[in-house]
């Protein structure tokens, strides 16, 4: 009797599963076909075609439980993200996951039972029924997974769109916070644009311009000098980075894709994970070296500096004239420090800024350092300082460098981790382009500075010249 009842139950179950399978397969077909593709998180159905180079670390419960700072960050950054909607998505995702888990468990128990029955040589009918149930469960699991992929993708992509928390120092409400102002007064008199120096600059468009003679020399020597200053004075490790970064890194660092040119490669290693022309002296240029890297706590901090190119496209603003301020290519110096903690990150950010201030002071032109408003930050940054020089031609400040604190936001997403005794933690990253050479050249010209007389901190020749000048001055006292 008991056996019979069990048989009836099994048959009902099989029919139920068959029906569910059919329904799920049908509804899966009706789902919207177009799904966003990400290289950072690839769902199982797309994994065959698209290799997932890493799996970002995501703690859903922990992140979503911090409602208040997250809400504050979203609001201050002026993002259109609804946390309640995201939580609903999460609940749906969780429920699907549970359903899948349930069916998986059931399937496992069926297969276990089958094995046992096979061992004891049970009746064929019973085995057949179990097999049928197993097949139905497999189909049901397949359908559930198919149904789940878009749900999973939708939730995870939304989750990955969440911003970093804000640093307490980050100004909010469209304000900038002044950190430093050089004592050299600002040139208030209207000056002609730097492009008026036709004998020294030939500007075609934002992609293509040439600088000649002294400018071209300054272009290389200033970049080398500041790099050298960070190495000698700050103990930074000099690097030369690759110029391409793939989509996975851009997504991990929440870099807007329109910031860089997409490279049209002939031999694509992945349809999704395409290459972008970033230049080596960019934040993204460093990331490939740290993706999936495991370090021990004693290795930190890791301070690095890279001279090289940067190819950031400047967004077109109405009424903005194209010139060296909006040009894509420049020589640049990019700093990057991986640290153990938030406190260490803060210290390192100050150190980077202090060394940069030393360098800019010597140029003899007015500049300032500010903390930018939260709305100007990318989702990955929690604080950004901007080094700005004044353009007497355009009567506005131009950003010539910046340093950002990323917390552990990017480390988690690129699997850059610290091996602790009990598991893993994530380094806090501080990074910034401290010298945008092309813009500095344009600004020095507008401010009437003779580039040949500029003292470049960290430049061996410039340092020698300064020492000789000081000695001469001293000798003059006794004449």
């Amino acid at each position: 009797m008991r056996i019979l009842q069990s048989h009836t139950n099994n048959t009902t179950m099989v029919y139920l599963l068959r029906y569910t399978t059919k329904y799920l397969l049908k509804s899966a077909q009706q789902l919207p076909i177009k799904r966003s593709i990400s290289a950072l998180y690839i769902t199982g159905d797309k994994a065959k075609k698209n290799y997932a180079p890493l799996q970002p670390y995501m703690d859903f419960e922990e992140t979503l439980s911090q409602h208040e700072p997250l809400e504050e960050s979203i609001k201050a950054r002026k993002l259109q993200i609804n946390l309640d909607e995201l939580k609903t998505k999460y609940a749906k995702f969780q429920s699907m996951k549970n359903q899948i888990k349930q069916v998986e468990e059931e399937r496992e128990s069926v297969s276990k039972k089958l094995k046992e029955l096979n061992k004891v040589g049970a009746a064929t009918k019973e085995i057949e029924q179990l097999k049928e149930k197993g097949v139905s469960l497999r189909n049901a699991l397949k359908s559930l997974k198919t149904e789940n992929y878009p749900i999973e993708e939708d939730f995870i992509h939304s989750f990955l769109n969440l911003p970093n928390h804000l640093h307490p120092k980050c100004p909010q409400g469209n304000v900038e916070k002044l950190l430093y102002r050089s004592p050299t007064p600002r040139c208030e008199e209207q000056q002609p644009t730097h492009l008026a120096n036709k004998e020294l600059i030939r500007f075609y468009n934002n992609s293509r311009y040439y600088m000649l003679g002294t400018l071209a020399e300054f272009d290389v020597y200033s970049m080398q000098a500041l790099t050298n200053y960070y190495v000698q004075k700050g103990g930074f490790l000099q690097m030369a980075n690759p110029d391409f970064a793939r989509l996975v890194l851009l997504e991990a660092s929440a870099t807007p894709l329109e910031k860089y040119h997409l490279v049209k490669e002939e031999d694509l290693i992945s349809e999704v994970n395409r290459a972008y022309l970033t230049g080596g002296a960019t934040f993204e240029g460093f990331l490939a070296a740290f993706a999936r890297l495991v370090v021990f706590p004693k290795s930190l901090p890791i301070p690095m500096v890279a001279p090289g190119r940067s190819y950031v496209k400047v967004a077109n603003k109405e009424g903005q004239v194209d010139n060296l301020f909006t040009a894509t290519q420049t020589n640049a110096v990019q700093t990057f420090v991986a640290t153990k903690s938030a406190e260490e990150a803060e210290e390192q950010m100050d150190k980077i800024l202090n060394l940069a201030v030393d360098f800019y002071k010597e140029l003899g032109v007015h500049f300032r350092v500010i903390y930018e408003d939260a709305s100007a930050l990318t989702n990955a940054e929690c604080l950004r300082a901007s080094i700005q020089m004044y353009s007497p031609a355009e009567q506005r400040y131009i950003c010539v460098g910046n340093v950002s604190n990323y917390g552990d936001f990017v480390s988690k997403r690129i699997m850059f981790c610290i091996r602790e005794k009990n598991g893993y933690t994530f380094p806090h990253i501080v990074s910034g382009s401290v010298l945008h050479v092309t813009r500095v050249i344009a600004l020095l010209l507008e401010n009437g500075v003779n580039l040949e007389n500029c003292r470049l901190l960290g430049d061996p020749d410039s340092d020698k010249k300064a020492v000789n000048a000081a000695v001469d001055e001293f000798k003059d006292l006794f004449k």
Binding site: R208, M211, E217, M239, P242, L277, G279, A289, V294, N331
Partner: protein, 417 residues
């Protein structure tokens, strides 16, 4: 070839005269007059051209041109056919110097400094020990054959740039900062094709191209210009990032020997037709001086026709002995492009008699960083795990040794948490 008519802008603006003394350019209103005219091509011309192509083992497009010409005979006014013929004519290689015509397929060694070979340590082994180069596991994050130079090796890159720049400055080269993103017509004009399969040129989403060498940007700089003869030759240097889509699976080209991205210091000259051979010799001499001071064992080869790029009339290669690889590796070259690029990019000069002529161009590699790094590390003394560098670089580098990087821990990657 069609007759050339030039319109000179009445408001011609003298440019860059401060940089190049007495250098005056006259800008032209009308753009480049068509280089070749389909109607002026005849059988004799094609026969000579094909002979030259076969000698250089260049892609033979003469049959295509002949077919197009037949079509044109049937429809003489078909503009599209004329355009196609002009495109094909533009792809033809330069002529070949009579001296090298009978060289066969091997270059002639014209110089060898016969230095004793260096230590014989492989570059990759030294770098691994010193922890100054990372190439592993970067493909999915940066790209195939990507690399990071770290610590002293990265400093050495910039020191080599500085060393080369200061030498070129002393030898009256003027420096220009050049763009790495260029319109395709400039690259085509330099003798590199940007269309077709297995292309060496990277394209980006704006349909522009990434420059493979600053020679392209520099040639582009002089496009549509007329220069006074007395200002010639104009000797220019540029430091740039070079992008090449070509790949290599050859074992002897492993590591950073052939990469997609690298830094290069380039020499370029615009000169008159009488000067180009002399300029090429001076480029070769400059390269030799630069490498002599770096203690490299090297030889100079006068290259045979099949080794000449489309734009080169003659070319020297400099090969350094790489003791770690036990082979000669090309570290530099210089080419005389005669009027090949000038015709395609409309670069002219005005003779003392007021005649307008196509200028000649020449180019040479002063320092291609990755191979120079290999040659330097493999050729210099290594003791107690540090590499001793040549005197010339010590002052610039502020350090006579290449030391082990202890900042970045050795590579350990995680698969999942």
């Amino acid at each position: 070839m069609a007759g050339t008519k030039i319109f000179i802008n009445k408001l011609s603006r003298p440019l860059v005269s401060e940089i190049f003394r007495n250098y005056k350019t006259m800008w032209i209103i009308s753009n480049h007059i068509k280089l070749f005219s389909a109607h002026n091509v005849n059988e004799i011309f094609l026969r000579d051209i094909e002979k030259n192509i076969l000698l250089r083992k260049h892609t033979n497009n003469v049959p295509v041109i002949k077919t197009l010409l037949q079509k044109l005979r049937k429809c003489p006014n078909d503009v599209e056919i004329q355009r196609q013929i002009e495109i094909e004519l533009g792809k033809l290689p330069n002529g070949t110097h009579s001296r090298v015509v009978n060289y066969g397929e091997k270059g002639h060694e014209v110089y060898n400094n016969n230095l004793a070979p260096g230590t014989g340590e492989q570059f990759s082994d030294v770098c691994k020990y010193l922890n100054v180069l990372r190439m592993e596991h970067l493909g999915h994050f940066a790209g195939h054959k990507s690399y990071y130079l770290m610590g002293d090796l990265a400093s050495l890159e910039q020191s080599l740039v500085r060393y080369t720049m200061s030498y070129l400055r002393k030898n009256e080269f003027k420096l220009i900062s050049v763009p790495d993103i260029l319109p395709s017509n400039i690259i085509n004009g330099c003798g590199m094709q940007t269309e077709g399969n297995r292309n060496q040129v990277y394209k980006i989403d704006s349909e522009e191209c990434l420059s493979g060498t600053s020679e392209m940007a520099l040639a582009g700089f002089f496009t549509d210009q007329v220069i006074e003869e007395q200002c010639l030759p104009l000797k220019i240097a540029a430091v740039s990032r070079c992008y090449r889509a070509e790949t290599s699976g050859l074992n002897e080209e492993k590591g950073i020997y052939r990469v997609h991205q690298f830094t290069k210091v380039e020499m370029f000259a615009v000169c008159s037709e009488k000067q180009s051979e002399m300029v090429l010799e001076s480029f070769k001499d400059t390269e030799m001086c630069l490498y002599k001071q770096l203690n490299l064992k090297f030889r100079v080869l006068d290259m045979p026709p099949n080794e000449l790029g489309a734009s080169a009339f003659q070319k020297y290669d400099i090969e350094a002995w790489l003791p770690g690889r036990q082979m000669w590796g090309e570290i530099s070259s210089c080419s005389n492009c005669t009027d090949y690029q000038a015709k395609r990019l409309n670069i002219k000069y005005k003779t003392k008699d007021g005649l307008l002529k196509y200028a000649h161009t020449a180019n040479g590699t002063a320092a291609a960083i990755p191979r120079l790094l290999i040659a330097l590390i493999e050729s210099n003394k290594i003791e107690n795990g540090t590499v001793y560098l040549p005197e010339e670089l010590r002052n610039i580098l502020n350090n006579s040794l290449l030391a082990r990087n202890k900042v970045v821990p050795s590579l350990k990657l995680i698969k999942h948490f």
